[in-house]
Symmetry: C2
Subunit: 152 residues, 2 copies
DNA sequence: GCGCTCTAATGGCTTATGCAACCACTGGGA
DNA sequence: TCCCAGTGGTTGCATAAGCCATTAGAGCGC
C-alpha cells in the first residue's frame, strides 16, 4: 500500500489538478471582487445563493442548509451572514413554524451590489479559466468546467 | 450586462460546481488527515510535492516555485515550510548555484509520515468523490476528475 | 566599486475559519 | 405538566492566512 497504487495515484493527480485550478480561480476572482466591490468570493457566493433561493417559489434556506451550500462550518456561516447583515445586504428573520430555524432576505442593497458585482465576477472567471487553459495539466479540467452546461 | 448572459451564467454554474466539489473533498480529506496523522491538507500537499520533486532528476524547487505549486502567498509559504521544518519533516539548504534561492529536502521522518498518510489521503479522496458523485450537479465534474489519467 | 533588482524571512496587524462548549427551541414521553 | 433528548444557531478560543513594510543576503550591470 505504501508503493504507489497506480489507480489511486491517478486519482490523486486529478485531485491535485482540481485543487490547483480551484486555487488559481479563487485567487483571481477574489482580487477582482475585493478591489471592485469590497466583496470576498464567499460573500459573493452567499449573496448569489440566497438571492436565487429567494427568487424561487417559497423555499427559503435555513442557516444549516446555507452552510452546506457554501461548504462552510455552521459557525463560519453564522459569521458570514452576520457580516453581510451588518452591511445591510440582507436581513434575518425567525422561521415562523420552527423558531429554532433562521431565514434570510436579501435586501435591495444586496441585490444591487450583486448585480454590480456579477460582471466583474464573470469576467474574472473567464480570465482565470483562459489563463489556466494554457497549463497543460489543467487544460482538460478547464474544458470539463466549461462544458458543464447544466441543461435542467 | 446586468441581465444574465447565458454563456457567462453557464460558466458560473461550472465554477460553482468546481468550488463546491473542491470544498467537499478538501473538508473530507482535512478531517481524515488531521485525525490520523496531524497533517493539514496543505501540509500533506506540500510534503507530497517536495518529495516528488526530490525523487526526480535534479529539479529542486525554490520557495517561489513552491508557493506557486501550493497556491499560497510567499509569506504563508515561508511559514508553512517553517512549521514542517520545526517538526523535523524537512530541511532547508541554500541553492548552490544561486545563493538567494532556497531548496528543501524532505527528511526520513517526512517520507515516513507521508507514506503513512498516503493511504488515508487516498481513501478519503475516494470516499469524497463517491459521495459527491451522488449529487447530480457534481457528478459530471467528478467523472472528469476521475478520467484525468495524465499519460505523460 | 556602486547601485538596482531579486529571493527569502520576519514582524505587525487584520480577518476568516474550525472546534467545542453553550444557549434556545421543539417534540416527545412519563 | 414537567422533563429530556435532539436540533439549529451562536460564541470563546486557537490557528492560519493575507497584506504590507522592512531587513538581509546575493546576483548583475554599469
Amino acid at each position: 500500500m505504501t508503493a504507489t497504487d497506480p489507480v489511486l495515484t491517478a486519482l490523486a493527480q486529478g485531485w491535485y489538478a482540481l485543487s490547483s485550478l480551484y486555487g488559481r480561480i479563487e485567487a483571481h476572482i477574489e482580487r477582482a471582487l475585493q478591489a471592485g466591490h469590497g466583496l470576498s468570493v464567499r460573500e459573493y457566493s452567499l449573496l448569489n445563493t440566497l438571492s436565487r433561493q429567494h427568487d424561487g417559489e417559497g423555499g427559503h434556506l435555513q442557516m444549516k442548509q446555507v452552510a452546506d451550500a457554501v461548504v462552510l462550518s455552521q459557525s463560519a456561516t453564522t459569521r458570514l451572514v452576520t457580516r453581510l447583515e451588518d452591511r445591510g445586504l440582507l436581513s434575518r428573520y425567525l422561521c415562523p413554524t420552527d423558531r429554532r430555524g433562521i431565514y434570510t432576505n436579501v435586501s435591495e442593497a444586496g441585490f444591487r451590489l450583486l448585480a454590480e458585482a456579477r460582471p466583474t465576477h464573470d469576467a474574472a472567471l473567464r480570465e482565470a479559466l483562459d489563463d489556466a487553459a494554457k497549463n497543460p495539466e489543467l487544460a482538460p479540467l478547464v474544458e470539463a468546467v466549461e462544458s458543464l452546461h447544466v441543461p435542467a
